[in-house]
């Protein structure tokens, strides 16, 4: 469980996130959604400690995110970003294993885990020796996901993980990702700006606008009981929702 208590974030004169209380349930998939600049990525970066909150506290499974706890916490959190953030000087396998090696995990255990992850993410084992420039966009995101899952984290954060992919690949990866989420049964927080994607993945949707949480609930809640005209407009603006 992840709790945000009176958390706000300000960059100079700009307020990225107004004081927010938010509780993200364990073992479920929560999707943060909203237009660009609404503060959804900021929340994710606050949780993993890439940003420090201006006010308030964040707790992950009861432990407060602070300078002294952040390293240990990060090792229990997987983080996947839009462009993958892969290290160009390392092969796919080296990217995945970097942290485990740094922690001196036994080689056998690492290899077993690597094979499990290839199977889970449908990544071809013979491509493990390739460097990021030699991989396709979809493969890179799979490697990024494997890297995030390597240490068997309790929490998985994904910031627009499919945002940079072309529609065909994206659709296939959405299916696979959902299957993975179901197998993992983890606390998952996914950021997207695509309502269809949010509806597809989410147990809970948190809709943000201009640094504030506007409404949270299931897709049905949002659709049938919009808290404001913004919620209705935002849902309306996303075409093809009826199909879901």
């Amino acid at each position: 469980m992840i709790e945000l208590e009176s958390v706000s974030k300000r960059f100079g004169a700009t307020i990225a996130l107004y004081e927010t209380d938010l509780c993200i349930d364990a073992g479920r998939t929560t999707v943060l959604i909203g237009p660009s600049g609404c503060g959804k990525s900021t929340i994710l970066r606050l949780i993993i400690g890439l940003l420090e909150p201006t006010t308030g506290t964040i707790r992950i499974e009861g432990q407060r995110v602070s300078e002294s706890s952040v390293l240990a916490l990060r090792r229990r959190i997987g983080y996947v970003i839009q462009e993958g953030g892969l290290f160009a000087h390392l092969t796919a396998a080296q990217n995945v294993l970097l942290m485990a090696k740094h922690l001196n995990q036994p080689a056998r255990q690492m290899q077993t885990r690597l094979r499990e992850l290839c199977e889970l993410t449908h990544f071809p084992e013979n491509a493990l020796t390739r460097y990021p420039v030699e991989l396709s966009g979809g493969q890179r995101q799979r490697v990024s996901l494997m890297r995030a899952l390597m240490l068997q984290p309790n929490v998985l954060l994904l910031d627009e993980p499919l945002g940079a992919l072309d529609p065909m690949v994206r659709a296939r990866l959405q299916d696979e990702l959902k299957e993975i989420f179901q197998r993992l049964q983890q606390t998952i927080v996914l950021v997207t700006h695509d309502m269809a994607e949010a509806g597809f993945f989410a147990n809970v949707i948190v809709l943000l606008n201009e640094g504030r949480v506007v409404q949270s609930g299931t897709l049905d809640d949002l659709r049938s009981r919009p808290a404001s005209t913004f919620v209705r407009d935002f849902l309306h603006a996303q075409r093809g929702l009826a199909a879901i």
Binding site: R45, I48, L50, L71, A72, L73, R74, R75, I77, Y79, I81, Q82, E83, G84, G85, L86, F87, A88, H89, L90, T91, L98, M99, H102, Y131, P132, V133, E134, S144, R147
Partner: protein, 487 residues
């Protein structure tokens, strides 16, 4: 019995005080080289161990080296002592000069004999055509191209006061290296230059000395300046040289030195002895120069890397400190190398030694390494930066395992630039007598001898190419394969 003799020999060798090595310095022109060699031979004949640091630089560098104790003595001229060292406008008596020098801890021998004053020289045919025979004749020819040495241009007894005294208004005056000036005179690109009255080139190039009809030039009697803490027996040895060298003899020695390119030989002529046969093994010499050159470049580059990369890492973070680091290493780069050497020589710890050259080269190697390290790190995309942090790597592990490898190509390019700059700049180390491939270049320039210049210039150029190839090879070792692949 035998072992007793050996023991005795050991004790004997221990008890005899090892005479300290005496270091002789000389300035960057033939006559100074020859006088230096004469001092060396005289002292050697008196049983001293002597080293001669040839052609260390100009007056300031030699004077500072003498005061700093890097050298024990060097040949100087009374005119230079008055004007440049003691900085007085009026001629001083010998006693007064001695007294003033004594305050600096420096002694002066008696005059060796000849007066090597400044002179203005022209090609004989050109002077005849224009009807010039004395300096005041120049008033009628303001259009002449004048090329004088930089030192003469700036001296208190040099070009500017000379033109004032004679009322000259020459339109085209520029500074040119002494040896190059003779070549320029021969080709006609300049009409007139400064020279020394004992200069061997005057006879060789069929030049005439313009008559100093207003007696502007002061006396330049050759003497040796020495440290007062030099052994008195060594001082006595030097005093024996007093009055033994007149102009004609000095000119002959100079001419011999320039003809044979062998200063030791010229000095031997003075003593009427056969010179110790100098090594004529060209490849051996080039090998030694190259080795020394590589030592200088290697040591300075090594320092540049171990200091430059940490500074670059610090400078990659935003803030005042970074601006300061980048600005400072940038400013260092703009100091002319000659000026930097001259600034370092008088400082304690430096002086005339390889340490000074290595330190100067190190300063020059800093900027490319610092800047490339900083840029290489700053160019890492935020996504990659944050991914490394989000994995839970400690800051130093982020740096070593992710950021430095990703920046390795840019950093290596910086090191390569520094190495190539160092190979070129290290030739200037010869100016302070440290050796390297600059040695033949500088002596070749002073002797106006192209083949000697090329003995240094060609290996230096090849060395630069080699360094280039070497670093291209290092690319394969230090830059991870994933960065060398094309997208």
């Amino acid at each position: 019995m035998k072992s007793a003799a050996i023991l005795f020999a050991i004790f004997a060798s221990c008890s005899v005080a090892q005479p300290q090595q005496i270091v002789v310095g000389s300035k960057r022109f033939t006559e100074s080289y020859v006088l230096g060699e004469i001092a060396k031979t005289a002292l050697q004949n008196a049983g001293f161990t002597v080293e001669h640091k040839q052609g260390m630089g100009g007056t300031i560098i030699l004077w500072q080296a003498l005061r700093g104790g890097e050298i024990a003595l060097y040949p100087e001229y009374t005119g230079t002592i008055t004007e440049e060292i003691l900085k007085t406008k009026h001629p001083l008596s010998t006693d007064r000069m001695r007294a003033l020098l004594r305050q600096e801890g420096i002694g002066m021998t008696g005059e060796l004999g000849f007066n090597n004053t400044y002179a203005l020289v022209m090609r004989r045919d050109r002077a005849a055509k224009l009807g010039i025979s004395k300096i005041s004749d120049l008033r009628n020819h303001p259009e002449l191209n004048i090329g004088v040495t930089h030192e003469f241009l700036d001296r208190q007894d040099g070009w500017v006061p000379l033109t004032t005294r004679y009322g000259l208004q020459m339109h085209n005056v520029r500074g040119i290296d002494h040896a190059l000036g003779y070549a320029a005179l021969a080709t006609g690109s300049i009409d007139l230059k400064d020279a020394y009255s004992t200069d061997a080139k005057i006879a060789e190039n069929d030049l005439i000395v313009l008559d100093d009809d207003l007696h502007f030039f002061p006396q330049y009697k050759a003497v040796f300046l020495y440290r007062l803490d030099m052994e008195s027996r060594a001082v006595a040895t030097m005093e024996k040289l007093v009055g033994t060298l007149d102009e004609a003899r000095m000119r002959r020695l100079n001419s011999e030195a320039e003809r044979t390119k062998n200063y030791a030989l010229a000095a031997a002529l003075y003593f009427g002895q056969k010179p110790i046969s100098p090594s004529n093994d060209l490849f051996g010499k080039i090998g030694r120069w190259t080795l020394r050159h590589l030592e200088l470049v290697g040591a300075s580059l090594f320092l540049g890397i171990i200091v430059g990369i940490p500074l670059g890492i610090r400078a990659s973070r935003p803030g005042q400190v970074s601006n300061f680091i980048l600005a400072t290493s940038g400013v260092v780069q703009t100091i002319p190398s000659l000026a930097l050497l001259a600034l370092l020589v008088p400082l304690p710890f430096f002086g005339i030694s390889p340490v000074t050259a290595i330190f100067a080269l190190f300063l020059y190697s800093l900027l490319p390494i610092v800047r490339n390290t900083a840029t290489g790190l700053q160019d890492i995309p935020t996504a990659v930066r944050e991914s490394a942090a989000a994995l839970g790597l400690e800051p130093h592990a982020q740096l070593w395992k992710v950021f430095l490898p990703l920046a390795s190509r840019t950093i290596l390019a910086g090191v390569k630039t520094s190495a190539i700059i160092d190979v070129g700049t290290a030739t200037l180390a010869a100016l302070i007598g440290v050796g390297g491939l600059g040695e033949p270049i500088i002596s070749g320039l002073n002797l106006n001898d192209y083949s000697t210049i090329l003995q240094g210039a060609i290996p230096a150029a090849l060395l630069a190419l080699l360094v280039q190839f070497f670093f291209d090879g290092l690319d394969r070792i230090f830059v991870p394969k994933g960065l060398r692949l094309k997208e």
